[in-house]
């Protein structure tokens, strides 16, 4: 950490940004938004990775790091994929809701990145 006050500023501005970003949300999107924000909170993967990187061969640390990495990635990947599945159903209006619905219920929508 470069300096404490810097970190606190980051915290403050990050919170303000969060408050500002979610102003008015249509009820339709409450569930997907919650799920998407939830996936973002899995950003703890970064902490897990730095833990492993700095473990210096300590097996207990490596184990705890890998454990938390697994939990965090479960949250991140599961969260993004499930959000995408939900949003795929709303589909682009132009292509018609029918195809969107089928795409989502049958198999994987393409953006399974992450």
């Amino acid at each position: 950490m470069s300096s404490l006050s810097q970190a606190l500023w980051v915290l403050l501005l990050g919170s303000l940004l969060g408050f500002e970003l979610i102003g008015k949300v249509p009820p339709t999107l409450h569930t997907p938004l919650m799920s998407g924000a939830n996936a973002i909170s899995g950003i703890t993967v970064l902490a897990s990775l730095s833990l492993i990187a700095q473990a210096d061969g300590n097996p207990a640390l490596l184990l705890l790091g890998a454990g938390s990495l697994a939990f965090a990635l479960f949250n991140v990947i599961g969260g993004f994929v499930v959000t995408d599945r939900m949003l795929a159903m709303f589909g682009p209006k132009s292509s018609g809701p029918k195809s969107a619905g089928r795409n989502a219920s049958s198999s994987k929508p393409s953006s399974a990145k992450s």
Binding site: H30, V45, V76, F90
Partner: protein
């Protein structure tokens, strides 16, 4: 400066920007899906940026690969397989695991990596305090989310004692124990107080979530989601990652706003959700169930056949889908019925209350899954003026959201909650398993109106009955069902 370092800083900044844009886009229907992809991309970039800064040994890579394979694969498989009706508990599970990750990071640092030094050194103090927050919030998020999931799945019921004042005593005791751990931990991070804090926070998470009724669970999940952001930000302080702090703070704040929005839509205050226990639990017993028929005097019940006859001649039909429909997983049967009615020349739409389904917005997802055209889903404010010219309204497993008392009876606990004004329609059929109270345990004046008839039964069975009755009446035969 070393070019790799500069590059990784740049990547971090881009990642933050994309995360913010992603979160912003997720709150608009049109951009939501691409915004989700953007956020996922940001996450990938952030990981890349971090890995670039580190010199990783082969051993470290192996552990990373192991953790990634297990967690990533499990998450991917679950997300692919889980049915849309189970979305609330799935989000709860994912969220709990995020909390667990922060908890593990903090415990690992506390046990093996805490900076040596005295507490008068600010850096040491901040690190220790961050460990405390990360452990406390992470543990509560984890156990609270798991309990929320169990309750939504129906694995855990609401024990009687949790509805009595006893629970406040229990929770205060746990909170005090956690506080003792929190105060003592900074001086001795790897000692037994760490485990006291872990245990007390975990049990406290169970203690505060257990008394909350199923109907309020979405609010709780949203709040816990906000907590997991806080836990991530705290973990950011622990390992010294600014990216983690920003992202965690963003999710924490956004989650709080979303929680507030949901509370408003449900006409509940956050305080009463958290400390009030299950709404009406004392009066109606089991939440959402309860066979208590007392209080209703002028109920008309009718068969699926009579309902089908009314539907056959109706020109304008509105469905009001609710929690009961989601539980019965009847959305596909509903779609089949509405196709028949459309083939018969009726105009069909769906009235969506902001909190319909098991979570705000959940009903939209379920109906979209059943191929219901998006344009037929009409939000409350748009459909309320339409009810007076509607022939038949069919209420499917919804209760409190159609209670006219919320408009007219100031003594009703629901008074002031925005409701769908189905009592304005010419004829109303309420499909319901029994006359048991809704979540709120409140009598519904709609059921006693002269134009209302009750069709008792499971939503799916009733809808299937209506479909076959309509077919027998010859509906949809001439122009083969679309």
């Amino acid at each position: 400066m070393n070019p790799t370092v500069v590059l990784s800083y740049a990547i971090d900044l881009v990642a933050v920007l994309l995360l913010a844009l992603g979160l912003k886009g997720l709150s608009k229907v049109r951009s939501a899906r691409s915004a989700n992809g953007l956020a996922a991309l940001a996450m990938g970039l952030a990981v890349l940026g971090l890995l670039m800064q580190q010199q990783l040994s082969l051993e470290a890579w192996l552990w990373i690969a192991g953790g990634t394979a297990i967690g990533g694969l499990a998450g991917w498989l679950l997300a692919q397989r889980v049915p849309m009706t189970a979305m609330p508990e799935t989000v709860a599970l994912f969220n709990g695991c995020g909390g667990m990750a922060s908890l593990l990071v903090a415990v690992a640092v506390a046990l093996f990596q805490s900076t040596t030094g005295t507490l008068s050194d600010t850096a040491v103090l901040v690190e220790r305090l961050s460990i405390v927050i990360s452990v406390f919030v992470g543990a509560i998020t984890f156990s609270g989310s798991i309990v929320a999931m169990g309750k939504l799945q129906g694995w855990i019921s609401t024990p009687g004692w949790t509805q009595s004042p006893v629970r406040h005593g229990v929770n205060i005791t746990l909170a005090v124990a956690a506080l003792v751990g929190a105060v003592a931990l900074p001086a001795d991070p790897a000692g037994p107080v760490l485990w006291l804090l872990v245990a007390a926070s975990t049990v406290l998470g169970i203690g505060v979530t257990l008394p909350i009724g199923g109907a309020d669970m979405p609010v709780v999940i949203s709040l816990l989601n906000s907590y997991s952001g806080v836990a991530a930000a705290a973990a950011g302080f622990v390992v010294g990652s600014q990216l983690l702090i920003v992202a965690g703070a963003m999710v924490g704040a956004a989650g709080l706003i979303l929680t507030q929005v949901m509370c408003t839509a449900m006409n509940r205050s956050l305080v009463s959700v958290l400390f009030g226990g299950a709404l009406g639990a004392s009066a109606a017993g089991h939440v959402g169930g309860g066979g208590d028929e007392a209080g209703y005097t002028r109920i008309t019940s009718c068969s699926a056949e009579e309902c089908a006859m009314a539907l056959e001649t109706a020109e304008r039909v509105v469905f009001v889908p609710g929690y009961g429909l989601a539980v019965a997983q009847a959305q596909h049967t509903l779609r089949e019925l509405s196709k028949l009615l459309e083939a018969n020349g009726a105009e069909v739409s769906y009235a969506i209350h902001p909190v319909a389904g098991r979570m705000p917005g959940h009903m939209n997802v379920l109906l979209a899954e059943a191929d219901v055209p998006y344009e037929q889903l009409i939000e409350m404010d748009a459909i309320n003026p339409e009810f007076p010219r509607t022939d038949v309204v069919i209420v499917l497993g919804a209760n409190d959201v159609v209670n006219p008392d919320a408009k007219s009876d100031p003594t009703s606990p629901l008074f002031g909650m925005p409701v769908l004004e189905v009592d304005q329609a010419r004829q109303v059929f309420v499909v319901k398993r029994s006359l048991g109270a809704g979540y709120a345990g409140i009598k519904n004046a709609l059921f006693e109106l002269p134009q209302t008839a009750m069709v008792f039964g499971d939503a799916k069975a009733v809808l299937a009955g209506l479909v076959s009755e309509l077919r027998e009446l010859g509906v949809g035969k001439k122009p083969a069902a679309v």
